[in-house]
């Protein structure tokens, strides 16, 4: 909302510098987003108020005229092209050298006088655009009648416009009076409310119009008055100026009064042409299904049965609280006005304006929750202006149908609650002053209670803590000390999945992988590239109704697509090794319930490994780099994975393995199928692995399986065996590792796999390095050889292994 400081000063004295005022308002009331100073560049000596005393034709140009202007010091002649120039106008006048904006380009400039079509001009009568007030350049700016001639323009028109963002529950702050009340409370000022006096000189209103409310749950109050003897014309210059500063366009005196009073009080009003109201009857009722009305913006709108309409004797004439109808609009011929000031249920207005996609100044105020007492306040204020500004004759009496009347709300506030919530005691006199300044009626009930009556314009204040906030914000949160929480700590909550995720993150980083975080929404097409057609869960991701963009329309059921996208994008940037990982969720739909959010580590790697130089590189990363990373992670967690060949959509058969820990599959590692990679614009071999965090966590030891260090040395020996080429090396290794004999344990590692000359066709040779160790003695070479012999025999039985000759 735009707050003109000059206008604000009508209701409260403001002496603070603008920076200080803005800071205080932001601290305690609403956020001041900025401010604009009007007239900052108007030189008081060069831009002044003047009066047009004569207008004559220009001898050499039809479009131009010669204005004789009284500047307060002298009378001068200027050339002027404005069509609205007229004798008697008070205007803004600039002398040579004044800083202005160019009327055509809008650029800042300095006034340089020269003859125009052969006639000297002593100065310039200014438009709003030239003054930097608005873009208006059709005619000159006309100042309010009675503005003193000869004074600097900055003194009468200079202003500061605050841009303030208010809260969703404070309709009262959207009115100047409500805003001024806050400023008064904040600065120790006194609120001056605008006059609501008027004389009712017309016929009784009851004979002119009747009002009934058929939906009292949606319409809590409806007031109506009638003003006769109106001549439609422009509103006074001061009113137009204020409307413009508030960002509204002046229309005519009647509409301007309704807007002005809305800006002043926060309460929307609506003026009908009384003579267009059929049956002289107003009904507030729910729309009949399919009912239609052309609203003031010229759009035909259709309503549902929960929308509140304002109707006359024959049909709709307005959408309650949102916009009036074109059929009863005030027009140039209007002489009698029916003024509606009503109160509607906030949620209903919100719903209607949302469904109609029609947000208006009125609906924005109603939906925040206006107090119903404001209706009569605004009605009276408007009638005062109709009388003083339009010379209207006001019918006697105001129709007031008020089914929703409630007694004022009273809240009992324990003084101790203030300290309980804020952490400081606020003295009684401060509580009384603060609440009193904000319009609350406070009774101190000694020793330690307040009985507080809430003003009608503050329906947002419902409970004692709402009062604590009122006290706290005006008293100043800067008075709160910074204290530390006391009391006992809650019991620790173990979250093994979260812990494992963080551990995996650290391990991946330690293994040289860069963490990425991808958007969790993607497309069905991308998910289809990396999920199995038979996987009905992952192939049916949850969609969103209103994605920010088409490429973010489905919640990902796999991390692989975004991992490959990240890989491709970074491959375009640089050559060399790429190792990326993300830990995120797969969102797996569940019928009728929230999806399962399944934590997964997904890593991709490829390119040539680090070589001697930063350019070029060594041999390409491959499957065993990916597998090695998995093994290292599992090893760090104290477990060993069991890898078995697997097939998986999007991965290359024969180059893919699943791995299990304990009885459960805990992840997958493999080469991305070249066709899949190509679909992501990756032309090189790229490898991927996933760790399924929840499956892994179930099989992790609570503590690492610690073993005391043996005091006895191990005996190291090698063993090369020949087996069928189809025997998995992992199985041979597994068996060797599990071999135990008479208190001797075996550690085993493979160090070669060989096929070729020296090994029969269809066979392969596996070289094992073995370490035998006993817990209780130093092994002799003879003992170790016997254990090795036993192992060889077992390998022979299990895999047909023979000692390589």
């Amino acid at each position: 909302m735009k707050i003109s400081l000059n206008w604000l000063r009508e209701y409260v004295d403001v002496r603070l510098p603008i920076e200080e005022l803005a800071r205080r308002i932001t601290d305690a009331v609403a956020e001041v987003e900025g401010w604009r100073t009007i007239g900052e560049m108007w030189d008081p000596a060069l831009v002044r108020v003047a009066k047009v005393v004569a207008v004559d034709p220009h001898p050499n140009a039809d479009r131009l005229r010669l204005a004789t202007v009284d500047t307060g010091e002298r009378t001068v002649q200027v050339v002027c092209g404005a069509p609205n120039l007229a004798v008697g106008q008070t205007v803004a006048f600039a002398s040579e050298g004044a800083r202005l904006f160019d009327g055509h380009t809008g650029e800042p400039t300095r006034l340089k006088l020269r003859p125009i079509r052969g006639v000297e001009s002593a100065g310039m009568v200014l438009s709003e655009r030239e003054l930097g007030l608005s873009d208006e350049h059709e005619g000159i700016l006309v100042l309010p009648e009675g503005t003193p001639v000869g004074v600097p323009l900055a003194d009468v028109l200079g202003d500061v416009i605050l841009e303030v963002s208010t809260w969703a529950n404070r309709a009262d702050l959207l009115g100047m009076v409500g805003f001024a009340r806050e400023v008064a409370a904040l600065t120790g000022g006194v609120l001056r409310e605008p006059s609501r006096e008027f004389t009712a000189s017309g016929p009784a209103v009851d004979g002119l119009v009747s009002v009934s409310i058929e939906a009292p749950d949606l319409c809590r109050r409806f007031t109506a008055s009638v003003i006769e003897g109106i001549t439609i014309g422009p509103s006074p210059a001061w009113m137009q100026e204020r409307l413009r500063k508030a960002g509204m366009r002046p229309i005519n005196n009647v509409v301007d009064i309704t807007n002005y009073v809305m800006l002043e009080t926060g309460q929307p009003l609506h003026a009908f042409d009384y003579d267009l109201v059929r049956g002289k009857r107003i009904v507030a009722r729910r729309a009949r299904p399919g009912e239609r009305l052309v609203t003031l913006d010229g759009v035909e709108r259709e309503f549902d049965g929960e929308m509140l309409l304002i109707c006359d004797g024959e049909g709709p004439v307005g959408v309650a609280g949102v916009m009036g109808g074109g059929n009863s609009e005030v027009n140039d011929g209007t002489t009698r006005v029916l003024l509606e000031v009503a109160n509607f249920r906030a949620g209903s207005i919100r719903r209607t304006s949302t469904l109609l996609k029609l947000r208006t100044e009125a609906s924005l105020r109603f939906e925040k929750g206006l107090g119903p007492e404001m209706a009569m306040y605004a009605q009276q204020r408007a009638l005062h202006l109709f009388e003083t500004v339009c010379g209207g004759r006001i019918a006697s009496g105001i129709v007031d149908v008020y089914p929703g009347k409630e007694p004022p709300r009273t809240i009992v506030l324990e003084a101790a609650r203030i300290a309980q919530v804020l952490g400081i005691e606020v003295p009684v006199e401060d509580v009384r002053r603060i609440l009193g300044d904000l319009g609350f009626i406070v009774h101190h009930v000694p020793p330690a209670k307040y009985s507080v009556q809430v003003p009608s314009w503050r329906p947002d204040v419902e409970i004692p803590d709402d009062l604590v906030e009122e006290i706290g914000r005006i008293y100043g949160y800067d008075r709160l000390p910074a204290t530390m929480l006391r009391g006992t700590l809650p019991a620790p909550e173990a979250n093994p999945v979260m812990s494992l995720r963080e551990r995996l993150r650290d391990l991946a980083v330690a293994l040289g992988f860069q963490e990425v975080i991808n958007y969790t929404l993607t497309t069905r097409e991308k998910l289809a590239l990396v999920t199995d057609p038979l996987d009905t869960v992952r192939r049916n991701p949850l969609g969103v109704v209103n994605p920010v963009a088409a490429q973010h329309a489905y919640l990902r059921t796999s991390l692989r697509a975004s991992a490959l996208e990240s890989y491709a994008a970074n491959r375009r940037q640089a050559e060399g090794p790429l190792r990326l990982f993300e830990i995120g969720f797969e969102y797996l739909p569940v019928e009728g319930d929230l999806p399962i959010e399944r934590p997964v580590l997904c890593a991709v790697l490829g390119g040539s490994r680090e070589g001697r130089w930063h350019v070029g590189g060594g041999e390409a990363l491959d499957f065993f780099d990916a597998k090695g990373a998995v093994e290292a992670m599992l090893g760090a967690l104290g477990v060993r994975g069991t890898f078995t060949a697997a097939e998986e959509h999007g991965l290359l058969p024969g180059h893919t393995a699943k791995f299990g820990v304990g009885s459960e599959m805990a992840g997958i590692v493999g080469q991305v199928h070249p066709e899949t990679a190509a679909a992501f614009d990756i032309e090189e071999p790229v490898f991927l692995f996933e760790v399924w965090v929840e499956d892994l966590v179930r099989h992790l030891p609570e503590r690492p399986p610690y073993q005391a260090l043996s005091r006895y040395p191990a005996v190291r020996m090698d063993l090369a065996v020949v087996v069928d080429a189809s025997v998995p090396a992992g199985a041979v290794l597994e068996l060797a590792r599990s071999h135990r004999s008479q208190g001797v344990t075996t550690r085993a590692e493979l160090f070669d796999e060989y096929r070729g000359p020296g090994v029969p066709e269809g066979k392969k040779s596996l070289a094992l390095r073995l370490w035998f160790r006993a817990d209780d003695r130093t092994l002799t070479d003879e003992e170790a050889l016997k254990v090795r012999q036993g192992l060889l025999a077992r390998l022979g039985r299990e895999f047909g292994a023979e000692l390589r000759g």
């Binding site: 601290d27 009331v29 956020e31 969703a168 404070r170 906030a346 949620g347 919100r350 719903r351 949302t354 925040k368 300290a419 309980q420 919530v421 804020l422 952490g423 803590d465 604590v468 906030e469 914000r473 949160y477 910074a482 204290t483 009391g487 700590l489 809650p490 993150r505 991946a508 980083v509 293994l511 040289g512 992988f513 860069q514 963490e515 990425v516 991808n518 969790t520 929404l521 949850l542 969609g543 969103v544 109704v545 209103n546 920010v548 973010h552 919640l555 990240s566 994008a569 970074n570 940037q573 640089a574 190792r579 969102y587 009728g592 929230l594 959010e597 680090e610 130089w613 930063h614 590189g617």
Partner: protein, 352 residues
């Protein structure tokens, strides 16, 4: 006797001269074999010849030859050391490498800057006794809105532009991508039968919002919640003050502005003093010349929410806050565009 002694001295001089001439390990080994060799080293032979010496001279002879042997052994070791040193010196001098050549590239992983910032924040709160919990990203509207006192048809819903999940339940849309981590206030209290509650809940949130340098539709938030008897707004100030100092420097100052969030009462926004311009930069892009940087929303948990959790709001109070992790990361590193975070460009990620 004198003759013998004289010949031993000559022998020693000869041996040492030969030793001096030996220039490498092989030469030293040859020298050792010639003089000290077990079988027929010249000194060994002398020792063996003791039998031919007159009995009364044997003791003196033996001592003299043994002394010669010991001297030669010591000088041999010295010579060996000297040769080794000379070899290393030569290596350092002649085999010097160009130390300005680049080092061999090593694989280096890094955490995402959001992860780093998130962890630093959580660590600060853990140090103040907060536990860490989590809640679902895809959420029911009643947790995201209704339970947080943001009813349908309330303009406060405009504060959060929502991405809705396209699933109808009983003919209505009920599932959404949580717009904030606030639903976890409700969820945590639901599963905590009795206070105290002291928890931070990190996680992703989503907004139906056009992106620009300061707006992103996917966000990371940290929800904070402390509920117990005796929890005061001044405690909120103290906790956030410690957090701000941990994240932005010990000389940070904080202020609270009045604000409005339906789920807190009173509601505030917290700002920290601008550590970029230190309060006097009219041109400062970070604080826009105000000297203060708005950084998070907070407040005292609305008593209705306390009561709905089954606690007694007349005895139990609480505070809550919501931190935007991206904003914190942008401030601490001076990152100018929020869209960098999730575009995963290594040129960006490699800087943290």
């Amino acid at each position: 006797m004198t003759t013998e002694t004289g010949s031993l001295a000559r022998l020693e001089a000869e041996a040492l001269a030969a030793l001096e001439a030996a220039a490498d390990d092989a030469a030293l080994d040859r020298w050792r074999a010639e003089w000290l060799g077990r079988q027929d080293g010249r000194v060994t032979v002398l020792l063996r010849g003791i039998r031919e010496v007159a009995p009364e001279e044997r003791a003196a002879y033996g001592a003299a030859v043994n002394a010669l042997k010991q001297t030669l052994e010591e000088r041999l070791e010295e010579r060996r050391q000297a040769l080794k040193r000379a070899e290393l010196e030569r290596l350092a001098r002649e085999g010097a490498i160009d130390v300005t050549l680049p080092g061999r590239p090593q694989p280096l992983g890094r955490l995402h800057p959001i992860t780093r910032t998130l962890r630093d924040c959580l660590d600060a709160f853990r140090a103040m006794g907060f536990r860490v919990a989590e809640g679902p990203e895809v959420e029911w509207d009643r947790y995201n809105f209704d339970a947080a006192r943001i009813p349908e048809d309330h303009p406060a819903r405009d504060m959060w532009d929502t991405i809705w999940v396209n699933t109808l339940i009983d003919g209505k849309r009920r599932m959404l991508l949580r717009t904030h981590t606030t639903p976890n206030q409700i969820r945590v209290m639901e599963r905590t039968p009795q206070p105290p509650v002291r928890v931070v809940v990190p996680g992703k949130c989503y907004r139906q919002e056009a992106t620009d340098a300061t707006h992103e539709w996917m966000l990371t938030q940290i929800e904070g919640l402390a509920v117990d008897e005796g929890v005061r707004m001044s405690d909120l100030k103290g906790v956030l003050y410690e957090w701000a100092r941990a994240m932005f420097g010990t000389d940070r100052r904080i202020i609270f502005h009045h604000s409005y969030f339906p789920f807190v009462e009173p509601g505030v926004e917290m700002a920290i003093d601008c550590f970029i311009c230190r309060g006097d930069g009219r041109q400062c892009h970070t604080c826009h010349g105000t000297g203060w940087i708005e950084i998070l929303g907070a407040g005292m948990v609305h008593p209705e929410i306390i009561d709905n959790a089954g606690y007694d709001s007349s005895r139990v109070t609480g505070f809550a806050f919501g931190i935007g992790v991206e904003r914190v990361a942008m401030l601490r590193w001076g990152i100018e565009d929020i869209r960098h975070f999730y575009s995963n460009d290594l040129r960006f990620l490699g800087q943290f």
